[in-house]
Symmetry: C2
Subunit: 218 residues, 2 copies
């Protein structure tokens, strides 16, 4: 690990391969994405491809790494912007979830797919390295959202007994399940609606119920 070894070769071509691969993989999966197809899209030779990636698994690893980094950035950005809008941990989290739903809703052709899920359903094809990368990404997201939930729980004691790790995981589960749902029934809005449902759940878990004078919820 030198000083700038990480991503020391932007080189254009490598990035172009990754771009072509990402679009293809998310739309039809790793198996259906051929190397020939990628080199044709980029305009290089097979040798050129294998110069950058020793095999398809190396491509998968690079693809997943880049995808996770981008997702991390999006989450960081959303959470930060939400924090700027409210100092209350619960309100901030609810704002962030709404922003996330809006991001999903604004994708013109629906969410292109989750690389993590794509990798998950191709397990045996990759080395343990790729699977470990996937696992760490999910555990990282859990940690990130769990921190938020902890801060919320301090101020708003949960009204039901839920494990906060599970509640953090649920966002990822709802998102991945929502992507599958959206794609399968061809309804791009199903995903953002599922995220909003998760939001409603979080609200119900931590918010006090709005109770009218009659004792009935409003």
């Amino acid at each position: 690990m030198g000083i700038v070894t990480r991503d020391a070769k932007p080189s254009g071509t490598r990035t172009q391969i990754l771009d072509a691969a990402e679009a293809a993989v998310l739309s039809k999966g790793f198996g259906a994405t051929s190397i020939d197809e990628l080199i044709a899209a980029v305009g290089i030779s097979r040798s050129g491809f294998f110069y950058h990636f020793k095999d398809k698994s190396a491509l998968a690893k690079a693809l997943l790494q880049r995808y996770i980094e981008e997702d991390d950035k999006i989450f960081d950005d959303v959470l930060r912007r939400a924090d700027e809008l409210s100092e209350d941990p619960l309100h901030s989290y609810l704002i962030a979830l709404k922003m996330l739903a809006e991001i999903f809703a604004d994708l013109p052709n629906g969410h292109p797919g989750c690389m993590v899920a794509s990798v998950c359903y191709h397990e045996q094809l990759f080395q343990r390295e790729v699977r470990d990368l996937n696992e760490q990404a999910i555990l990282n997201w859990r940690r990130r959202f769990r921190e938020r939930l902890d801060r919320i729980a301090e101020r708003y004691p949960p009204r039901v007994d839920v494990d906060l790790d599970d509640l953090a995981d649920m966002l990822m589960a709802v998102a991945d399940g929502g992507i599958i749902l959206s794609r399968t029934i061809h309804d791009p809005m199903a995903l953002p609606r599922q995220v909003m449902l998760y939001r409603e759940f979080v609200r119900l878990v931590f918010s006090e119920p709005v109770v009218t004078a009659t004792g009935r919820p409003a």
Copy 2:
């Protein structure tokens, strides 16, 4: 649709191919499952395979059909058994969800994977026929659970404004997302815990909050 045309050829061999294919596909995906591997497992020739399935896509279709039928049976069974235990629609649904979580928890190696999700992430590989089959399966599940939620909502007016179609879809989303979660972090119990979280959400949506004399939730 004749009288007994459906599944008119149990023939043993065909079923054996489907069994071998189901295990292989769920563990490593369609792409990584070779025909040679399947015929070796069953002990037939390549010609034998192509006698039963004209190509790999036909295998996928048959596999998906069988999978959906089995899932339908499981859901029917769980809902029926739950109905026997309680006449109240909410309680019955909550019982069914707990049963479902227990079924998932009792699978020795965790849930093997969802064929619907597997097909979803291989979209372009199959004809529209297979994708339509997938879509119909999900819409069918939505309808089934939506009916339950309607009956619940009649007796227990929802405390928050949620779309019942979305709430029905959420079970499928949480299940598929939970499977991905479980497989990726190697925790077979993550899936049943996610189902129980969904159950908690349903309970919160429809149940009146338990409020103590002080007005604080218990």
